[in-house]
């Protein structure tokens, strides 16, 4: 099992601990703490030949994005990257049109939820799928077992919950007649849960401000043959993130047999997201 991270600090990529990095391409990705220019990605690859490097292009693309993106994709394709995470299906069209060699990772945030659709994408040349965060561990394992695609599962980080093209923070502060900010925490009172909103020129991202602690499911994923877990550093103090990554590296190297690992990281909280919680499908049964 390999460990990938999305760093939240360009100066600290934990290159001696992790197997690879997911870096978000500036102007063409959203819901990330930091963004990399094409030149920065080139340097990252040159300076870290031992790391698997994946580029995240997960914006809902507009017509105006397509032509400039083609040029970027051609350049990225020369870097021998390990993959491109995509949300917009334009990427499938462009890979074919430009005859790109770089592998693709199906990464449609809340949509990667069943093995048949994973198999569909695999049949279209997509090598990997980052599974949705709103499905259960049981569903994840079924996908791993039944799908031909290589699955990835996010086990640590602030869950991205929604994305709007609207400038929701700007609009809020305009109504308040105050100077806007780039981020805002809002509290949903019934559940006492806080959501972190971050706005940039592409729109507004929503994160649940409660770290997913999937340390307890890593063993199950490992035992069932998952090839990649992902940890995201956004919202986690760097020292703690370093500690988690180091321990996780050792835990994986030890075939996930050290029960102290899970006990130790109970300190990260009880939010196991939807690993053990099924969402309600129909509120009311129809006759």
């Amino acid at each position: 099992m390999k460990l990938l991270i999305e760093p939240s600090n360009k100066n600290n990529i934990y290159k001696d601990i992790v197997n690879g990095l997911i870096v978000s391409l500036k102007d063409y990705s959203v819901q990330s703490p930091i963004y990399y220019s094409l030149d920065e990605i080139k340097q990252l690859k040159i300076n870290n030949p031992q790391l698997e490097i994946y580029v995240n292009i997960n914006k809902n693309l507009l017509n105006n994005d397509i032509e400039p993106l083609k040029d970027i994709l051609k350049e990225l394709d020369t870097l021998n990257l390990n993959g491109i995470f995509f949300y917009d299906l334009a990427l499938l069209k462009l890979k074919k049109e430009l005859n790109l060699n770089t592998d693709l990772v199906w990464s449609q945030t809340h949509m990667v939820n069943n093995y048949k659709t994973c198999n569909y994408y695999h049949s279209k040349g997509v090598k990997y799928a980052l599974l949705g965060k709103e499905i259960t561990l049981e569903e994840i394992i079924e996908i791993i077992k039944k799908s031909t695609i290589t699955s990835m599962v996010e086990v640590l980080g602030l869950p991205s919950v929604a994305f709007s093209k609207r400038k929701l923070i700007t609009n809020y502060y305009k109504d308040l007649n105050k100077e806007s900010k780039s981020s805002l925490d809002v509290l949903e009172k019934v559940t006492s849960s806080t959501y972190h909103l971050a706005e940039d020129k592409n729109g507004t991202s929503f994160f649940l401000k409660d770290i997913i602690n999937g340390t307890s499911v890593i063993k199950d994923l490992y035992d069932n043959g998952l090839e990649y877990i992902i940890m995201r550093g956004y919202g986690i103090e760097e020292d703690l993130f370093l500690e988690i990554l180091t321990d996780t590296r050792n835990y994986i190297n030890d075939s996930c047999t050290d029960s102290n690992y899970v006990t130790k990281y109970e300190k990260l909280g009880t939010n196991t997201n939807f690993f053990f919680k099924k969402t309600i499908y129909q509120v009311k049964k129809n006759g």
Partner: protein, 397 residues
Amino acid sequence: MDRVELLSPAGDLERLKVTLSYGADAVYIGGQKYSLRANATNFSIEEIKEGCDFAHKLNKKVYLTLNIVFHNEDMDGVEEYIKEVVDAGIDAFIVSDPFIISHIKTNYPNVEVHLSTQNSTSNYSAVEYFKEEGIDRVVLARELSKNEIKEIIDKTKVDIEVFIHGAMCTCFSGRCALSNYVTNRDANRGGCSQVCRFAFETDEEKKFTMATKDLNMANHIKDLIEIGVKSLKVEGRMRSLYYLATVIGTYRELIDSIYSNALTKEKLELLEYRLSRVANREVSTHYFTKEADETDQYYTGRQEISNQDYLGQVIEYDNETKLIKFYERNYFEVGDSLELFTPSGEVISFNVEKLFDENKESIDVARHPDNIYYIYLDTDINIPEYSMIRLIKKRDV
């Protein structure tokens, strides 16, 4: 030249029949499985067949939404279900999952597949991808401008459908799981609890809200026709009969007026006024002419306007006695000014001169919703079942 399609929602068989009667060219419905409105009444296979038979006799079409984001368990039985729906006579499926698209196009090449707005398709390359997959129509993301829609049509030549009226999502469709996290209801499988209409606490003096105004494109229908949009879609499978009759009837008149060069400024204003009388929120065109901004949202929590214009739904009209038999919906009285509108677009204005209860005893006031009443109206115009009565002006006191 093909005329643009007016596509109506229909939450049940009655709504299907009413909206087609009021001028929709096609309706979209949900089955009892796999639809994004899990709490709508939705259609059984027998009802889908009856709806298709009804529509096809009018030379109109029925589309079925099959646009949930599938989990493993949802895949069990879906292929059999698709076959049953095809056998019931469906004209098209509205789908977001490309595996399902591929399955339908492979097995039922004569049945159309429309790409759901749940995919938030927002550029010509993505449309071209689905064109190569055999998609017949794409329902675009609601975040696009007129120029962006036009460029997609020009470059891809794929049939494009856009929303013209109804509620809007705050986030990209398919890219919002707020409902999952806040209420544990799966937004992408029909359980959306509309968390974007909640109010949230912040450190500021006012709560944070992000609720959007509704979409109303009446003033831009001509633009949409001119840039080559093929289908104009109204949102609202769970809306009332009166709402659907008013909205569909009004857009029917608007579209027909455009094609017959009869749309004057005054007529457009009248039609927009009619739409405004069934609206329960303010309206906007959102992204069509500008980037959506602070004017497209609410800031003080959910603000819904309720009006009592809807007075009754006609059961029948007796040409001998000149009595309209109807179900009452809101209080009115003798002396009020009313309008009656029919599925074929007739509008009759009149004052209530005589009003009767269910036993045809003369009364002054119709007080009780759902009760049957009679109004006297002397007219030669055909007043069929499902004609609607609305208030124009209360009597002068």
